[in-house]
Assembly symmetry: C2
Homo-oligomer: 225 residues x 2
DNA sequence: ATCATAATTTAGTCTTACCTAATTTTTCTA
DNA sequence: TAGAAAAATTAGGTAAGACTAAATTATGAT
């Protein structure tokens, strides 16, 4: 029997996973920022999580942390639940894609293994959530995509949107209004020399959209229409 | 802006509501038993909840507690969510009625007002949950029924089941197997003189079932088929 | 009316997870 | 290769919500 982990701890592990996906390690300050708590509190918790049996992460003073396999397993389980919930809310309860992140952030901790199974089945075992993020399967394997980002498109080149950033409702509403969702094919029309702002065309509708370089770097695409 | 109440406090208020529905007041020990914590802890919490602004309950040493209007409002909100979730799990996710209580016990605390609204709408604004318990509406008004209990039936008299006890999965599985669910019409065939065990007939199917007096007292019915 | 028992409360701790302030370590720049 | 700035850690504290043990109050049977 495995001891139930607190919501807090689950959130730490999830965040560490997300941060180290881009970088291999997560630093105390990054975590403090992401979880909106003080760095001192983070240090305490990291030390604690490195001393459990089994340990959830590997901690070296002043050098960031890395999840153990066990820690990663837990992180992936939470991420799976989070994304299943997002997909469920959109597909079955009429949510828009900008409403689901916050809701899932809470519900992911209240989801039993049974509910996870039933929702997964009700959705037909989906591989991606509404933002195009991959949903780890029952064994926590993640559907692989091989994306680059919108920012790296050449002028005149086409691509297909794979995923968009999922946290900020405002951004999501903007993208939604432009018709920029996963699966949509686009072409880069132009890039301003000074600030790299991109003009792109949605191929199906012919609509145009303006995307700054920051946001462009957070939108994953595959090359080709 | 109202301060968010902890899950714990929500559980206290809900339990007090349920206990005082049958009795007007809830005692420290009843609460300790129902919440599975020590009586001393309950005393502490009751004192705390009676000193909030506004107070959630009225506390007199050694004489039990009673919810204030505010306390009752919160209790009913949780109960509404609990029952909506139960109905949702059965109707939309293929749960059986013995699986839903425990699940709802957790989810009720993770449910946003928006989710409550969407689920309510998806179900067509149901008035009763799978066990026949009334679901408070958006304004927390409770559909009234005027039930008596199975135990009070006379021999040969007919009745229609209104609600069954909802917590114990074993009991629910037994009742389910017998076909005893809300809406079903029954007739009392006999009662043993010694222990008052009842034999009843389900009118639609002709099936017979045996119900002890304790369980019989927890099954609500309306008189007449 | 008394006394045993049951119910409740008080007092004192513990754990979890957070905080701020002060200190130490690392990193970056001149 | 200092020394400043940034990052991380330590130390000491707080609030919630639980606990046990001891004390008090209420109740019910003779």
């Amino acid at each position: 029997m495995v001891k139930a982990l607190s919501h807090n701890i689950q959130d730490y592990l999830k965040q560490i996973y997300q941060l180290s996906a881009a970088g291999g390690k997560a630093s105390t300050n990054q975590l403090a920022e992401a979880l909106d708590i003080s760095a001192a509190s983070v240090t305490n918790m990291l030390q604690k999580l490195s001393k459990t049996q089994p340990p959830y992460l590997i901690y070296h003073k002043h050098h960031g942390v890395q999840l153990t396999d066990e820690g990663q397993r837990i992180a992936l389980k939470i991420i799976r639940r989070h994304r299943l919930i997002e997909e469920f809310l959109v597909k079955k309860l009429g949510y828009t894609w900008d409403e689901v992140h916050e809701e899932a952030e809470v519900l992911e901790h209240a989801m039993s293994p049974l509910l996870e199974k039933r929702i997964d089945a009700a959705l037909g075992f989906p591989e991606f959530d509404p933002h195009g993020d991959p949903i780890p399967d029952v064994n926590l394997n993640i559907p692989q995509t091989n994306p680059t980002t919108l920012r790296s498109l050449e002028i005149g080149q086409t691509g297909r949107i794979i995923r968009v950033p999922h946290e900020d409702p405002q951004v999501l509403r903007y993208l939604g209004k432009c018709g920029l969702r996963p699966g949509v094919s686009i072409k880069l029309l132009s890039r301003t020399p000074y600030d790299q702002t991109m003009r792109i065309e949605i191929l199906d509708t012919g609509d145009k959209a303006i995307i700054g370089p920051d946001l462009g770097g957070q939108i994953s695409i595959s090359i080709g229409a």
